[in-house]
Subunit: 328 residues, 2 copies
């Protein structure tokens, strides 16, 4: 593989000149410019990113650590973040914590040795020592989706209160009073915020305040199914169910089907925080709050670049919209 030295020799200029042409870092005469570019093309020159990063002590790489890449919310977010970063000349190193704090730490270590220029973090749990040392080394960090106690970084997240308000309005319009709420682990700020907003608003929307209708799982299908079963086993027969993210909704529907007859289950309306394609095929179709995962990804990258380049950054909440699939 040819180096910049080869290019310079072939072009008949000094090595420094070739570098200046190829990186565009300083003015060069049209003459040497042309010769260097020609030589580079002939030799099929590809810049060595590792050498460049070493010398400049920056890599133009951003680290993105997500909870679970197989969750559509995160894969869409990652996709959007990647595109935005690329548009701005950065590469994204994507890491998948798989909802596991130990694995998250492992990736943070890799990020550190790879010398990323900034970190987009969707946290798994509390601040780890590994994360602390990254922050201590003055690495720019932004948080996605979930906030994190003890870490003062800009947050780009869903407007949970606004989204829950949409759900409450929908429930009220459709005349539901017996509504089951299947939440997530309140250790996560997302779950906590959604639950708080729901509890605060239910009474004013004519919804029963019976807490036997409230339960929570683990943000995954199995835990949510168990929670749904607990609600039903308390003798409650809700006319609607609110699932607090997509896997939770999936689990809740499984729970309904398991305890109730097909006819009974088909009479329960379901609404979800976080929308996916297949909701239209459920019986009855499931309505949902659509989260702007892509926009969170884009805003996160933009915010991180601002941080890197020393501009002021403030947290942003992204508004949601309602996808109403109710039949009548």
């Amino acid at each position: 593989m040819s180096t910049i030295k080869d290019v310079a020799e072939r072009a008949g200029v000094a090595l420094g000149t070739a570098s200046r042409v190829l990186s565009g870092s300083a003015q060069t005469s049209p003459e040497s410019r042309a010769r260097v570019l020609a030589a580079a093309a002939e030799l099929n020159y590809v810049r060595n990113g590792t050498a460049r990063a070493l010398r400049r002590s920056r890599t133009d790489v951003l680290g993105l650590l997500v909870s679970d890449i197989r969750n559509p919310f995160f894969s869409e977010l990652a996709h959007a973040a990647e595109r935005e970063a690329m548009r701005r000349g950065y590469t994204v190193l994507l890491a998948n914590a798989n909802e596991d704090a130990a694995q998250a730490d492992e990736y943070l270590r890799i990020f550190a040795t790879q010398r990323i220029d900034g970190l987009l973090l969707s946290p798994q749990g509390p601040v780890s020592p590994q994360l602390e040392s990254l922050v201590a080394s003055r690495l720019p960090v932004v948080l996605l989706n979930r906030s994190l106690d003890g870490l003062d970084a800009p947050l780009f997240a869903t407007d949970n209160a606004q989204g829950v308000a949409l759900v409450l309005d929908w429930l009220q319009v459709r005349g539901h009073t017996e509504v089951a709420f299947i939440g997530g682990p309140t250790a996560f700020s997302t779950a906590a915020e959604r639950k708080a907003a729901y509890l605060a608003g239910r009474e004013s929307h004519g919804i029963s305040v019976d807490d036997r209708l409230i339960d929570e799982g683990d943000f995954l299908a199995d835990g949510a199914e168990a929670a749904m079963l607990r609600v039903l086993d308390r003798g409650k027969r809700p006319t609607a169910v609110f699932g607090v993210n997509e896997p939770t909704t999936l689990g809740a529907v499984r729970g309904l089907r398991r305890r109730l007859s097909v006819v009974e289950a088909a009479r329960v309306e379901v609404i979800s925080f976080d929308d996916v394609d297949w909701f239209e095929f459920a019986t009855p179709p499931i309505s949902a709050v659509r989260i702007g995962a892509a926009e969170i990804g884009r805003l996160g990258v933009a915010g991180l670049l601002d941080l890197i380049e020393g501009r002021p950054v403030s947290s942003r909440r992204v508004a949601t919209s309602l996808v109403d699939r109710a039949l009548s």
Copy 2:
């Protein structure tokens, strides 16, 4: 941020010795070993990966280029590949072509400057110049899922013929003779193989050979919906539909619902190549061939590392299994 030189000074040894301890590349005395490790811990030393990569001219990074990270098949594959790579001491740089050849090329360029040690490729289209130059530079490459004319690289893919055989058997057992086949672009080897296997086997499985039942889309929901509508508009009333990947199946179901009454549509059985969770909630539930996306990812990484380390590698097909959700 501290360097290996700082560590060496603090430990009172030469820079070379510190390197030998920290990289474990040569024997060192227990004494200096202990002192270096202690110094490294005290200084919070993190190896500079860019310097290391420059000197060793290898990065321990693998490039993974997928068609669409939002497709569950690829996100599961990517996840598994990443885990396997990490287990073997490599990092994965994930790139998302977004079903776009130009973007794929852009990422191949980035891979080249980042000096990846090997490439896992799920191709978008024909061999591009960019890809050609990577191959010419002797970069180890393995193909995932789709083969590629003109590129001689090991392929790790689904056993399409075996999967289609499962579908044919299922259709026969359930007594279907009028079966609509919604395929994909035959420029992709996956689509071509599945179609060929279906056409070859249908007659012996008692399925009508009327080609008005056959159509194809673009592997995405919208194209498949259009294809489904064309079949119906030719006056065919299939009792079963075979969708050749997940988005295709989704589109086909949409097509059915659009042309037929709810009752009629609910009478059509659907079977899909590639399984996802929500199929259990469709009416009637959708059966599917389950592809071992995770295994393809793992095998791909293992094969690529074999290639990198000079061991012989041969292509592998991964067997599928049937998830039968038929009600009766």
